[in-house]
Assembly symmetry: C2
Homo-oligomer: 301 residues x 2
């Protein structure tokens, strides 16, 4: 079923204990769409400036990613982020953010994309997420990401957005902040009560937690990899793997969701093994499926 | 197979967001032995002072816990610990420690306990752990716990201890400190290389990680409970459930270890739902087995 993502295509500068990569390809919609493209076609909606290198578009070219919705805006500059990771690399320290095109009008969803059924609204102002969502005809599943900044500063908009989506994907600190609940299971239950079908709480190296309206929790450890080089994009790649699988299966029943989360963690475990999206130069769907099998064998007792 | 634990029987004062419990029963050997007793008999080796309340011994009485090795030392005072938990309760702030009897000679392992086969050396000075271990005839499996203090201040003793045990059980921060590896999988592999058969890294609310000499990782989320009241004793209860199951099965093969870890997390998830060991007033082996079944269903995808 048709899958659409709205989010950023960005230029990142990243430093980790394993090296440094200035001006590399990044952005939530980039990580998401490449991850999701292993499972089926993806429609990408984003905007970059005229400074965006042509080279960086090659990553989309060989994959079932429709970039009709990727606007290249003359006179504008691409969103830029610089960050560094230390120690356990569980959190990035932001060194620089240049909003650039993100401070301008959001991209428009192309007419031919408006019948999309599975939608992922990557992190941005909830007001913008809602604006984009309203351009769609009749989505079957809408999942949104958000972050601490919006929870703190745009709560009324975020609450409004939540009324129009099926699910939230967010990290543990954000789930705690959104609900005021320190216990993650209690936080997930509180989020469901906001009127959602399901919520996915990402815990980085510790895996993910799913709670559905039926109140059946699903807990999943992360696929264990010792070769982490750059965690940037892990969350969006997780969401891409998850949504890619859901769209391919065309449902979001509990059993499909569980496997979708497992795919999400396997996809994320690959992308963090190299800088930017470089891991996808060699890794493919076979590698993802192998990790899924390994993960299943690892957790069985 | 005979299971023996050496560790503390203590008097704790605990404060959490859910209440306060002054002068309650605590101690690593207490939590361990009650947890393990759900799976079979346990031999307890510890020492308390003459201030230790008779009442507190009742918890051992109705269970297959042999307290022949629990010395009550005249003129001595029981080890006391006071701590408080806030927020996510993932770490205790220690408010007060009174070593008391821990600063004196360690207890002696009774003659009739010396043929024990499964041994858990709960956290204490590695020198003392080794001294206790040397009193045993021919253990089949020796597992030791340790903590940041000994890693920092008694490293030569700890390295020596590691040469005489089969496995370590420790938490994520301790594993990182012991190896200098930020990545937990890499840390686990480095610990195995110290000459161990297996290592278990406890991650609190995030579950546990097992690595064996065969280099096959096993990752397990924690049993999700929203009703956490007091995390004190979670780690020792985990170890008790794990070792209790291993001793009952009389082996520590990979498949047995996996199920032992799962039992450990289920036992720990129960004890943290009330202060001190109060949860065991009502919870029994049936509750543990129910959680094991639920956990298995939760993680299957």
């Amino acid at each position: 079923m048709s899958l659409l993502v709205t989010g950023t295509v960005a230029i990142d500068s990243v430093k980790t204990p394993f090296g440094e990569q200035p001006d590399c390809l990044g952005g939530s919609a980039t990580y998401f769409s490449v991850a999701a493209s292993h499972f089926g076609p993806v429609r990408l909606v984003s905007a970059v400036g005229e400074d965006f290198p042509d080279d960086y578009l090659r990553i989309f070219a060989g994959r079932p990613i429709d970039t009709l919705g990727l606007e290249r805006r003359p006179g504008s500059k691409t969103f830029r982020w610089a960050g560094s990771y230390q120690g356990t690399m569980s959190e990035a320290a932001t060194l620089d953010t240049q909003l650039n095109i993100l401070a301008e009008a959001p991209p428009v969803i192309p007419e031919s994309f408006r019948n999309s059924k599975f939608i992922f609204l990557a992190n941005t102002a909830p007001e913008v997420q809602l604006h984009l969502l309203r351009q769609l005809d009749s989505p079957a599943l809408v999942v949104a990401d958000t972050m601490n900044y919006w929870i703190r500063n745009s709560r009324p908009d975020l609450d409004k957005l939540i009324q129009h989506v099926n699910a939230l994907v967010l990290n543990d600190a954000e789930a705690r902040m959104l609900t005021g609940q320190a216990n993650l299971i209690a936080a997930a239950a509180a989020i469901i009560k906001m009127g959602l079908d399901f919520v996915v709480i990402k815990k980085g190296e510790h895996g993910a937690l799913l709670l559905t309206r039926k109140n059946e929790p699903f807990v999943l450890p992360a696929y264990p990899t010792a070769a982490v080089k750059d965690p940037t994009g892990a969350g969006d790649s997780f969401a891409g793997g998850m949504m890619g699988y859901l769209a391919a299966r065309n449902n979001f029943e509990q059993s499909t969701l569980k496997k979708a989360l497992a795919y999400g963690t396997c996809v994320a475990s690959l992308v963090i093994e190299d800088f930017s999206l470089d891991r996808w130069n060699t890794a493919d769907r076979n590698d993802i499926d192998n990790r899924l099998d390994q993960l299943r064998n690892m957790i069985i007792f």
